[in-house]
C-alpha cells in the first residue's frame, strides 16, 4: 500500500484545436492534476488558461481527453462521457463575476439552491454570506455593492452549492492588495473545512506571490512549469514566460569571455558595442545567450557613478519617458534599448527628460538567463 490516495483530486488531460481567422490555430494540449487546496494557473494572456477552466466547467468541449474529479468522470472522449455543465457541480467565478444584476445578493446566492426546501435555502444562503462577511448586503443588488464585496458575493454564490471543484478566473483583478489578501484568507478558511481543489487563474505576479502555494505555468496552450512560485518565477525558462513574470528587458548577445574565478562572464549585445557582466552560465565564448532584466532592477544616475559594488555601469541617453499609472517607464538607448522603471518623484528630482545623458547601473545577478 502506501502513498496518499487523494479522492478529490481534479485531473484534466485535454486537447483542443481552434482555428482563428488570419492567425495560426490555437492548440491546447495539457495534462494537469489539481490536489485539494489552491493551485495557481499562471501564464500570459492568450496562453489558454481560461480555456482550461472552460473545459473543466463544460462550457467548452475538448476535442479529446479526460477530465475527472476523484472517481467522477466529467468528460472522457474515449467512452463518450460528456457531463453537461449544469450537472458537473463545478463552481466557477468569472473575471466579470457575472452576478445576476436583477437579483439581490441573497437571491444570487440562493439561485443554485433550488433543489432545497425554502427554509433550508435561506439558512444556507445566510450561512455562506456570513462566512464571507457580506450578510449585511443580502438585500442589495450588485450595482449597489462595492468592488471587493461583489467578489465576496460571487464566491459565496458559487460555493453555496457545495461544489466538487472551484475555478477562479482572475476574480480579484482590480482590487488592492489588502482587500485581495483578506478575501483569500476567507477563502482559505472556508476551504479548511470543505477541502476541495481550487484552480486560481492569474497573470499577475503580485497575486502569485500573495497566494504562494502550488503553481502551474502555462504558455501557448501547454504546461511549461510546475512547482512553487519561487521555483518557477525566479528561474523562468522560456522567453514568453519571462516576459509574463515581469521582465521588461529581453536582450540577446554573444559571450565575449568567461571569468570562472569570479563566477561571471562578459557578453556583448547584438548590433552594439555595449558590454555587460552577467552570471556565469553554461556557455562558451562566441555563444549566443539571452538575458532578462526587470525594469525595476535597474538604477539610473544622471552623473557617472563611482565606488559601486554593481559591476555594470552603462552610459546611454533617454529616448522617451512614459507615465504608466504610478510609475514612469523610461526608454534608454545604450546601443541597445533598455526599459527602466522609476517613481515620478525620482524622475522629477533627477530632472529627467528625453535626450538627457544617463548611466544605468545593473547588478550582475539581476541578469537572468532565458532559453531561446
Amino acid at each position: 500500500m502506501g502513498g496518499e490516495v487523494n479522492l478529490a483530486t481534479l485531473t484534466e488531460r485535454v486537447k483542443l484545436e481552434r482555428s482563428r481567422a488570419g492567425s495560426p490555430p490555437f492548440v491546447l494540449d495539457i495534462s494537469i492534476q489539481v490536489p485539494i487546496g489552491i493551485t495557481i494557473l499562471f501564464g500570459p494572456s492568450g496562453a489558454g488558461k481560461s480555456t482550461v477552466l472552460d473545459c473543466i466547467a463544460g462550457l467548452v468541449r475538448p476535442d479529446s481527453g479526460r477530465i475527472t474529479v476523484g472517481e467522477k468522470v466529467l468528460f472522457d472522449s474515449e467512452s463518450g462521457v460528456n457531463c453537461p455543465t449544469q450537472a458537473r457541480r463545478i463552481a466557477y467565478v468569472f473575471q466579470t463575476l457575472a452576478l445576476f444584476p436583477h437579483m439581490t445578493a441573497e437571491e444570487n446566492v440562493a439561485f443554485g439552491l433550488d433543489a432545497l426546501p425554502r427554509e433550508q435555502r435561506s439558512t444556507r444562503a445566510e450561512e455562506i454570506l456570513k462566512a464571507f462577511r457580506v450578510d449585511k448586503l443580502r438585500g442589495r443588488k450588485p450595482a449597489e455593492i462595492s468592488g471587493g464585496e461583489r467578489q465576496r458575493i460571487a464566491l459565496a454564490r458559487s460555493l453555496v452549492t457545495q461544489p466538487r471543484v472551484l475555478l477562479l478566473d482572475e476574480p480579484l483583478t482590480g482590487l488592492d492588495a489588502h482587500l485581495k489578501a483578506t478575501i483569500v484568507d476567507d477563502l482559505r478558511a472556508w476551504n479548511a473545512t470543505q477541502r476541495i481543489p481550487i484552480l486560481y487563474v492569474t497573470h499577475s505576479r503580485e497575486e502569485v506571490n500573495a497566494l504562494g502555494e502550488r503553481m502551474i505555468a502555462m504558455d501557448h496552450g501547454r504546461v511549461v512549469g510546475e512547482g512553487t512560485p519561487m521555483e518557477i518565477l525566479e528561474a523562468p525558462r522560456r522567453t514568453r514566460l519571462a516576459q509574463a513574470a515581469g521582465f521588461e528587458n529581453l536582450l540577446t548577445g554573444i559571450v565575449v569571455d568567461l571569468r570562472e574565478a569570479d563566477g561571471v562572464m562578459r557578453m556583448r549585445f547584438s548590433d552594439s558595442v555595449c558590454e555587460m557582466e552577467v552570471p556565469l552560465g553554461y556557455a562558451a565564448p562566441g555563444d549566443r545567450v539571452r538575458v532578462a532584466i526587470r525594469a525595476g532592477d535597474i538604477l539610473l544616475a544622471t552623473s557617472q557613478p563611482h565606488g559601486l559594488s554593481a559591476r555594470n555601469v552603462i552610459e546611454g541617453r533617454i529616448v522617451a519617458l512614459e507615465t504608466r499609472g504610478t510609475l514612469i517607464r523610461a526608454r534608454v538607448d545604450c546601443g541597445v534599448e533598455f526599459i527602466v522603471h522609476l517613481t515620478p518623484g525620482a524622475a522629477r528630482t533627477l530632472e529627467l527628460a528625453a535626450g538627457v545623458r544617463v548611466w544605468l547601473v545593473l547588478k550582475t545577478h539581476s541578469c537572468h538567463f532565458v532559453e531561446e
Binding site: 462550457l59 449544469q86 457541480r89 466557477y92 466579470t96 452549492t161
Partner: protein
Amino acid sequence: MDALLLSLRLALCVSAILLAGGLPLAYWLAYSNWRGKFLLEAVVALPLVLPPTVLGFYVLLAMGSRGPLGKLWQTFFGHGLAFTFEGLVFASVLYSLPFAVQPLIVSFESVDRKLLDAAAVLGAGRRKTFWRVILPLSIPGVVTALVLSFAHTMGEFGVVLMVGGNLAGVTRTVSIDIYDRVQSLEYADANRMALVLLAISFSVLSVVYGVNRQVGRQINRRLWTPWAAK
C-alpha cells in the same frame, strides 16, 4: 365606436399571440447556431418590406376555400377563414411578427453571455435560465414588443382590406372605417376617428420611448433601418 372596439380586440388578441409565439421564436433566433438561420430571419422580417397588399394577397389565397389553411380550418370549425375575425387575427399576426420578434431578439442578445454560463455552472438548465435570467433582463424588450405589435395592429389597413373585407362588427377596423367615411364624405366622423387613432398611437409610442430609453434606441435602429432603405 364598433370599429374602434373591434380594432382594440384585434390588437389585444394579436399582441397576446405574438408574445406567446414570439418568445420561443426569438429565443431560437437569438441563440441557435444553425447555419440556415438567416433564412428564417429574412422570413420574419419580410412584412417590414413587403407591401401589405402582397402579404394580404398570399394570405387570402392560403385562407380561401381552396387554400391549405382555408381547407384545414373548414375541417376543424366547419366554416372558412377568409373574411372572419379569426382570419384577420391570423393575417395580423403575420403582418406584425417582426414588430414583436425583433425587439425580443435584440434584448435576448444583449443579455451578457457570461450570465448564461454562470446560470449553467450553478446547475440551471435552459428552461430555468430563460425564466429566471434571460426573461427578467429582457422586460424592456418584452414591453416594446407588446406595445409595438399592439400599435401596429391598431393601424394596419392594407392587409385587413385584402383579407377581412369590410364587414361591420366582424372585420371593419378603425382604419377601414375611416377610409369608408372619407369615401362617403363624412369628414367630421372620419376626423374624430382619425384623432382617436392618432392619440392612441402617440401615447403608445411615448410609453415605449419613455419606459425603455436604452433598449428602445437599439430596437428602433434595427426596426426602422429596413424602412429607411425602402
